[in-house]
């Protein structure tokens, strides 16, 4: 089909989006080449911000590797748990609808608000976790120990976003064709073999889609960190977004923050494209 009217359908949405985004993006690039202060506004300083970023700011790169570690770990956990849960409530289960709704609920809750609750939950002396653990003589510092704080962030992220993975994978499982399973049943395949040779390969394209979507969202981890630990103790849970936030909107080094944002955006686009290509190759090799 081809009509002149096709543009009437496409353009309102496209132009609204471009219209809202184009100036901010151009502005970020312009700002990243500038010093900025409230007295005389922008002054062009060339690549100085970028030189500082690449030669003199280990904190940015540390926060970036921390982000990579946190997002990859949480997404892998979410995928494994989400797939297991989706497979379990797929069929042959009592209270099916109840469990499906229950497992969806965390993603419907506002991350920052639930994180405030998690903060009280993991409170060192007044929270229930340490109340139970104290019976065994333990009282871990969930939020103030550099290693444990990362672990706590991971727990909260997994709680919050496994439902999204679960939703996408369950939708995938429910849309699978019946014939391969009948064939496997006729051949007398064991449940394990059925999963490895039928279910999992059929789910590969959906798995890739779900993992990429979650990686994109996980790479923005910021709300949770802000409320749970404020990047601390020290900088041990600080992610890229949070560091840029501190530089830009706390210390008002707008130009430098803009150069970090732009670098960060480019790294995100490149690495997500590479990850998508690699995953597609790995999971679809047969």
């Amino acid at each position: 089909m081809n009509f002149k009217q096709k543009y009437v359908f496409l353009f309102p949405g496209l132009f609204v989006l471009i219209g809202i985004l184009i100036f901010p993006i151009i502005f970020v690039i312009r700002l990243s080449l500038s010093g900025w202060n409230s007295y005389n506004g922008l002054n062009f300083i060339g690549l100085e911000n970028y030189i500082r970023l690449f030669t003199d700011d280990p904190r940015f790169w540390e926060s970036f590797f921390r982000l990579s570690f946190l997002s990859v770990t949480t997404v892998v956990l979410q995928y494994v748990i989400g797939f297991a849960l989706a497979h379990m409530v797929w069929k042959d289960i009592k209270f099916q609808r109840f469990f499906r709704v229950l497992f969806l609920i965390p993603m419907m809750t506002t991350p920052v608000i639930m994180t405030v609750i998690w903060r009280t939950f993991f409170h060192e002396s007044l929270g229930p976790v340490n109340d139970i653990l104290s019976n065994f003589g333990m009282s871990p510092k969930w939020l103030t120990d550099p290693v444990l704080a990362k672990f706590t962030v991971i727990i909260v992220e997994v709680w919050q976003w496994t439902p999204f993975m679960f939703l996408l994978l369950l939708a995938g499982l429910l849309s699978l064709p019946k014939e391969p399973f009948l064939a496997a049943a006729i051949d007398g395949a064991s449940p394990v073999r059925k999963f490895l040779y039928v279910t999992f390969p059929l789910m590969a394209p959906i798995s890739i889609g779900a993992i990429i979507i979650r990686l994109i969202e996980a790479s923005k981890i910021m709300d949770t960190v802000y409320v749970l630990t404020s990047g601390g103790p020290g900088t041990s849970t600080e992610t890229s977004s949070f560091y840029i936030f501190i530089k830009g909107l706390r210390e008002f080094q707008m130009g430098y923050a803009a150069s970090m944002s732009f670098t960060y955006l480019i790294i995100m686009i490149v690495s997500l494209t590479v990850i998508a290509k690699v995953l597609t190759k790995l999971m679809l090799k047969d």
Partner: protein, 282 residues
């Protein structure tokens, strides 16, 4: 084998269900505590472990002048911003998605898939990258700290989701439907509004639910782009988390903020079981 698997399955599901419910139950008991029962260490069962009080709930509807928190106004602000931005995103997103699913576009090397990717790729944009220019721009046109400014920003967050879900949905709606309508003498607009749209209601509902979820749960933009005039619910609640945290009203307000979205969970599950979500991620 079968039996062991079954035991493991129910064990794991129960374990996860407890993990999902735990923070909600904790918030529920905490919301009925007062200063003394919170600071006496963790307690769980009302009347047995501690004396329940309604202070945490009462404070939420009092005005700040009477020492209350007043989450009613932020609540309606949140509802208004989320619903308006979702509605605009769905309308614009659905039109664009229909065009991308049915017609062919070509401008140089840019084809349909590239345009679709452009829409969806806006989700990759880290909020922090946009926050600084939005902060300066909205300030320049006096929309900082206003509902309209937030709605504009939320459209960027939500339209990619609407386009993503609706393109896949329209791809599954048979083309014969439009073609028959066109042969019967409809123009393309009539074909879309009278024939295709009524057949797309499940897709619209799913896209709407997702827009509402992702609009309602956003904190970051509301946090950076509003201060005192306009406050959204998440910002208001997180602001309670200050030096001396009133755990009781914090818990009560958290539960209130979660409540409306539980309905969304039921709707999503229903459409999931009917298979209307399956196309969404291929």
């Amino acid at each position: 084998m079968g039996k062991l698997y079954k035991i493991l399955k129910y064990f794991f599901i129960t374990f996860w269900a407890v993990f999902v419910v735990a923070p909600f139950l904790w918030a529920l008991t905490t919301s009925f505590k007062d200063f003394n029962s919170v600071n006496g260490g963790a307690t769980y069962i009302p009347w047995v472990d501690f004396e329940p009080k309604l202070e945490g709930w009462r404070v939420l509807i009092k005005s700040p002048a009477n020492g209350g928190v007043d989450i009613i106004e932020p609540y309606f602000n949140s509802l208004f911003v989320t619903c308006t931005a979702s509605l605009i995103s769905i309308i614009l997103g659905t039109l664009s998605a229909y065009a991308l699913s049915r017609f062919t576009f070509k401008a140089g090397f840019v084809k349909n898939n590239d345009i679709t990717f452009f829409f969806i790729s806006q989700r990759i944009m880290p909020p922090i990258v946009l926050s600084i220019p939005f902060f300066l721009f909205l300030g320049a046109i006096n929309l900082l700290d206003s509902l309209i400014g937030l709605i504009v920003v939320y459209i960027v967050l939500l339209m990619p989701i609407a386009v993503w879900i609706m393109v896949d949905f329209f791809n599954k709606v048979p083309r014969e439907i439009d073609e028959t309508a066109l042969i019967d003498g409809c123009n393309p607009y009539q074909a879309f509004f009278k024939v295709v749209l009524p057949n797309s209601i499940p897709g619209l509902i799913v896209a709407g639910m997702f827009c509402i979820i992702f609009g309602w749960i956003d904190f970051f933009f509301a946090f950076i782009l509003t201060f005192t005039e306009v406050q959204l619910l998440p910002v208001k609640i997180v602001a309670l988390n200050s030096s001396i945290t009133p755990w009781w009203s914090l818990s009560a307000s958290a539960l209130i903020s979660v409540a409306p979205l539980i309905i969304v969970a039921f709707v999503v599950e229903r459409y999931l079981s009917k298979g209307n979500l399956s196309g969404a991620i291929k």
